[in-house]
């Protein structure tokens, strides 16, 4: 098994890492009868297993299949916390992308699939930071698009418009939850990080009601490409091959979830996810130099592109909700911020007389995530985890004023710019010689700061300011997507208003998802002890 170049396990300190080796049980299907032909298992120098028959006069050797573990096995198993980083990932690899593209019949053929590539802004930032000179994200996107076109991709998008829709839906969901105000409604926890979602499903089922049902930008991009654009192109979902480039391995797991599988057309909203590192590998394998300019034809994109969402480089979820609350408040609100530790920032909105009306937090990394789980469990009065707590003294719930209303949870320290699938410093051995500090921890932090800078610098904004008002034309496109996908009976559609029941049903299908507790199904023979 070979990991893609971007990943070495030692880089994963404080990421959510597998708790133990994969325990996917290996079950015997046909028990041999006593007295069956004796065979031996031999292992060659390459580590392959061979079964050697010893009984027949001419010994035969048969290569044995290695057990393969699919991403769906990982999703259904609670053996690891999140397994993506430790498990054979063959279904979603850059080799798989090349294989699909090369076997794609001509576009005239009915079985031709339109190849579409969608790349995340964090991936663009990582690529940009790896270049010797500061390069705007737009330029990086143009070059990636040129490279993708050379492979056969017909459309290349970035995922910021999908994120725009995710943010709108996120705000709508927050308003719904706040209005309901029942148990399990608040705090609302971000849902864009699949590492966090997987971890919660496997070890903290009590957190699931709090996790936003809104799909992640990747999955909304899937809906946009396969449902909305597909219809415009006159293509069914299964006639499109949709590849995303993400900063994170766990996005592969996310795309594999059964919720994002289209039964009718036997296809997924996102067919294949590759990481930034895998894209980089692909470019280098094909001899494509990202440093060199490309001829840009600046084609008219059907989607708004490279939208900025100020606040955080992990999607600006909290920031967008803060903006929404400030803008819809009848009184002017003051924002105070408190950052007790690295990767933890608490933001509070207060009325002029100092009463807090909203408490939010940005919380990244496994360590801070633990505290969020503890705190949410306490404030909501739910039993955290599964341990023996029979004698635990019941404690009074925190007052509403003390609890979080929203938490932007991300599993990686530093957030998505520092995702496990991003490029590692320096870009490669033969090329750039950057003078990163010698010690590992600082190197990673310094590198993450570089990527963070690349993420924002494009727009000449040193620090993210308060979110600007969204442009009118953008609003028009967003509303049109909602209207055309959900088909409400009413003429006028708004993201922050309920539609008729049937349209809302479609909205749930296109923009929301669900979570479920994953129970361990450990078979005795497979248990690690």
């Amino acid at each position: 098994m070979a990991f893609s170049g971007a990943l070495t396990l030692t880089d994963l300190n404080d990421f959510i890492t597998p708790a133990q080796a994969c325990i996917k049980p290996v079950e015997q299907t046909n028990k041999p009868e006593p007295g069956a032909a004796a065979t031996e298992i031999r292992i060659d120098s390459g580590g392959s297993y061979y079964e050697v028959s010893k009984e027949s006069s001419t010994p035969s050797t048969q290569k044995l299949q290695a057990a393969e573990i699919s991403l769906n096995d990982c999703l259904a198993c609670s053996g690891c916390i999140t397994s993506a980083e430790s498990v054979l990932i063959t279904l979603q690899s850059h080799a798989e992308v090349l294989s699909v593209l090369s076997s794609n019949p001509p576009s005239s053929s009915p079985s031709y699939r339109v190849p579409v590539l969608s790349i995340s802004p964090q991936s663009l930032a990582s690529l940009s930071a790896s270049l010797p000179t500061p390069t705007p994200l737009q330029t990086v996107l143009d070059r990636v698009a040129a490279f993708a076109a050379s492979l056969g991709f017909v459309h290349v998008f970035d995922t910021t418009f999908a994120r725009e829709l995710a943010l709108r839906e996120h705000v709508a969901e927050f308003s719904e939850r706040k209005a309901r105000g029942g148990d399990g409604d608040l705090p609302m926890l971000a849902s864009a990080c699949p590492g966090w979602v997987c971890y919660a499903e496997k070890t903290h089922g009590e957190m699931l009601p709090f996790i936003a049902r809104t799909k992640s930008p990747q999955q909304i991009m899937g809906t946009l490409v396969k449902e909305w654009l597909g219809e415009k192109w006159g293509k069914r979902p299964d006639q499109i091959y949709h590849v995303t480039v993400m900063p994170c391995y766990d996005k592969k797991l996310e795309a594999s979830r059964s919720d994002f599988y289209n039964e009718q057309y036997s296809t997924r909203d996102v067919d294949c996810v590759i990481t930034t590192g895998e894209l980089d590998l692909l470019m280098r394998e094909k001899g494509f130099d990202l440093c060199l300019p490309v001829a840009t034809s600046s084609p008219s994109s059907p989607l708004p592109y490279l939208l900025t969402h100020s606040g955080s480089s992990s999607g600006s979820y909290l920031s967008t909700i803060l903006t929404h609350i400030s803008e819809t408040s009848s009184v002017p609100l003051t924002l105070t911020s408190h950052a007790p530790r690295a990767d933890l920032e608490e933001l509070t909105l207060s009325t002029p007389d100092g009463a807090p009306i909203f408490r939010g937090a940005r919380c990244y990394g496994f360590r801070n995530l633990q505290n969020v789980v503890r705190r949410v469990g306490r404030s909501a009065g739910v039993q955290v985890g599964r341990g023996a707590a029979g004698r635990l003294v019941p404690r009074k719930r925190e007052g509403k004023g003390e609890r979080y209303d929203y938490v932007e949870v991300m599993a990686c320290p530093g957030g998505c710019v520092n995702g496990g699938g991003q490029l590692k410093p320096p870009r490669d051995a033969e090329g750039l010689t950057r003078d990163w500090a010698a010690d590992g921890v600082r190197t990673d932090k310094a590198w993450t700061r570089e990527v963070e800078k690349a993420y924002w610098d494009t727009h000449g904004i040193p620090t993210p300011p308060a979110s600007p008002k969204l442009g009118t034309s953008l609003d028009e496109v967003a509303v049109r997507v909602l209207g055309e996908l959900c088909k409400p009976r009413a003429e006028a559609v708004r993201w922050d208003e309920r539609m008729d029941d049937e349209a809302e049903e479609r909205r749930r299908r296109f923009f929301r998802t669900q979570y479920r507790v994953v129970e361990s199904e450990v078979v005795g023979l497979g248990v690690k002890w």
Partner: protein, 179 residues
Amino acid sequence: MDYNPNPIIVNPGTTWTRRKTQKERHSLWLSEEGDDSIDADDNEVELIDGDEVFDLIRSISDPEHRSMTLEQLAVVSAPQITVSNQKNHVMVEFTPTVPHCGMSTVIGLSIRVRLLRSLPNRFKVDIKVKPGSHTSEHAVNKQLNDKERVAAALENNAITEVLETCLESAGRRGRPADI
């Protein structure tokens, strides 16, 4: 994937080395008929030998091939057992059926549990795979002789279920199943 789909089977020995004089004892752990423990008398230290230890473990079932015993698969044999009554020490060496056998720790654990339940307390037991017989020899040995890991494993229902199945046949002590 099978670790070893077609193991080599040996003829079990026909001599039963089981001792005749043993008092009945009902273990909390086992509900088979007859004795299973080598019990020291109240004040007299009873000496045991490798054959007796072999008797205790020969009929443990293989976790992968439940119809066969460790003896039948040549995983355990009397010569691979060393007993020192003076030092109160028992060393059991076993031979995994294939060098990459993933069941080795379970086999070793079943031997350990059997001896834990049957041998007098005074014996310290070491269990090892035969040198050179396993690709992860060191790791397997280390785990089997870490009493904390063993103790925790025995509190894991998934593992004890497997172990109990393997140990069900242990009381046969070399006799065929139909007796």
